[in-house]
Symmetry: C2
Subunit: 415 residues, 2 copies
Amino acid sequence: MNLYRPWSLRDLVKDLATGATTPTAALDRARSRTAETEPELAAWVVHEPAPDITTAMGVLGGVPLGVKDIIDVAGLPTRCGSALREGVRGATADAPIVRAWRRAGAVILGKTVTTEFAFFAPGPTGNPAAPGHTPGGSSSGSAAAVASGQVPLAIGSQTAGSVTRPAAYCGVASLVMTHGSYPVDGIVGLSPSLDSHGVYAATAADLAVAWAALSGGRPAPRPPRPPRVLLWTADPIGVLDDEMCQALETLEKRLTEAGAVVDVFPEERLIAEVTAAHPVVMAYEAARERSAELAVADRLSEPLARLLRTGAAISDTDYDTARRTAAQARTRVTALLSSYDAIVGPAAPGAAPAGLAATGDPVLSRAWQALGLPSVTVPGLRDPAGLPLGIQAIGPAHGEAELLARSAWIETTLS
Amino acid sequence: MNLYRPWSLRDLVKDLATGATTPTAALDRARSRTAETEPELAAWVVHEPAPDITTAMGVLGGVPLGVKDIIDVAGLPTRCGSALREGVRGATADAPIVRAWRRAGAVILGKTVTTEFAFFAPGPTGNPAAPGHTPGGSSSGSAAAVASGQVPLAIGSQTAGSVTRPAAYCGVASLVMTHGSYPVDGIVGLSPSLDSHGVYAATAADLAVAWAALSGGRPAPRPPRPPRVLLWTADPIGVLDDEMCQALETLEKRLTEAGAVVDVFPEERLIAEVTAAHPVVMAYEAARERSAELAVADRLSEPLARLLRTGAAISDTDYDTARRTAAQARTRVTALLSSYDAIVGPAAPGAAPAGLAATGDPVLSRAWQALGLPSVTVPGLRDPAGLPLGIQAIGPAHGEAELLARSAWIETTLS
């Protein structure tokens, strides 16, 4: 069976709007595809027993949605992929971000697999686009559910590379929103200054529809000219494999042929510095945010226990220095983005690593996450073995609508 | 005695760098000016008994700084202008934002007067530029301390108009930073999604120096061309007095004569809607953030008690709707700011109202605060009676350096 068969959100929204399909039929399709693929994929932790399609209004009225299991959905337990949460009761209320998606019309089908407390210890989920390879993490279940077409839309969160990397590995599109766009109440987070909201769909064009519905705007019009972009190669970070290096050459060629201006990103070294500063901020804040778990660290996986212990030992001064590095870089990158539409570069070092024991390396998201800027993972490229290779596009703070329109344009050049 | 005599930060920084003055001399000047003016101004709650100038390194090494008394400074009590905080002990640690200013070299002289929990009930502080008139609030003491030249730099915070309005009323410059630029730990805040950091200095050019020192960058170069700005008149909000209407005409004339492009801001109605949405978000979050105070509301001022009670009664749905209104507007305004350098308009409805019993109306900051964008108050205009009239310039998220360079340019056209 072909597990990789993403479901077009644009088509579904159009069909719902024209009456060519109904919320009931969309729900049936989601259930049927889930029944068919879930034994191999294991993307879900719990299903909503009675999804309410009768009250689904708005642009997304009737669109099935998966929710990462660190985010509260009223009535469902928030298990966070941790034994510490065994037997926890249903959440008393929706997280504000869940309310926002419901308002846009989305119908919640259940909770999707996350790594343990959104860090590295993986869940059981497989990769629909690369069987036997990791789907990435931490928002593993949401990415796999979208890549397999169980749902056309699923949400996650990102502290390091928890949305971008799974999108890249599973061959779907993702948006990481500007830090602070929506409250993070009702989310079991790691790092208040890094935790951001994310969402998956089949394509960047689908995400433009989803973002417009969520934010209450209209999708940005088709850009009047090809974009001006800066190509970030991540060269000083030194992690790209040959296939991704090749993919970046393809990207540059396709963009240039299609009329885009592609200039060299002039701050590679700075981004490498921010990449090194990110884990300091993350560990310091995680030790404080998850102090209850730190107190019972022997019941955590080794990587998470190490993160929290490391963070507890970081000095205020080192934390301040790391934040300052990020703030300086944000100023510089924001200035660059006043002359360019986006920064484009690799979303991950390469294709999904083999095996399900680890979730791959988030290193290429760390810097952008520390800057708090929106990022779109654009699918379309593949390595010679046919595994997805993700490209990411970064834009200015709160520039999601324009960034998605540009990303959709880039997407067409890659397909 | 002329109470209004702001102290140039640029001159001080230059003199410290060249050895024309010393940190000791700067401290002496601050103490002497404070001794002279404080009996009339009442800008300070507590003075640091032994400011440490020996370790002050960095660009601002030796620059005296005042800190609003809702922000923790190690060893000093955080009294929040409230009887509930009588007898509270010294804070155990600096707030991260205080650490950041110390790292830049600033020497903390003490805590400045705030309204009760940064809401409306005023403290005793007077207005150096308009004796007998309110200095505005809530960051009253910091604005007055800078306007009188007690210190060249003081920090505050803004949830509605708590930084911008005092700057406008006292005839000094202020910067409200992009929401989320620095952590708000160690600050007794009202509304996590609105609370932002602010800073006062004599001029926008001074703030460019301060921001560069804080963020570790260099001041943005002198802009290569006059700015392109959108003129926001706040017309649908309907609160401007005649003097401010006149001032906006003067602003437009001066900008145009100096070569700026001044276009009509096309979203007046949208900003009026966000202005109405802001208090919903603020009250809802304040009731939750200050739940301990809500529990003893009879010991609060009437306006604060009313805010918290109102907020407790706001439904999730109304809160979500208000946040959504702001999010939509942020998208639209961010798109506009990709074609313009700044939005310029009134910082307050007019000059400082007479009397110290109330702090004036923050209404013209509400929308920009809900959008989380950086805002600079530019001094220079006066009404026919000689009272200061403030102009504000709003820029894109994280565009502080550029916005301050533009604001300094605007400032020169007004002087």
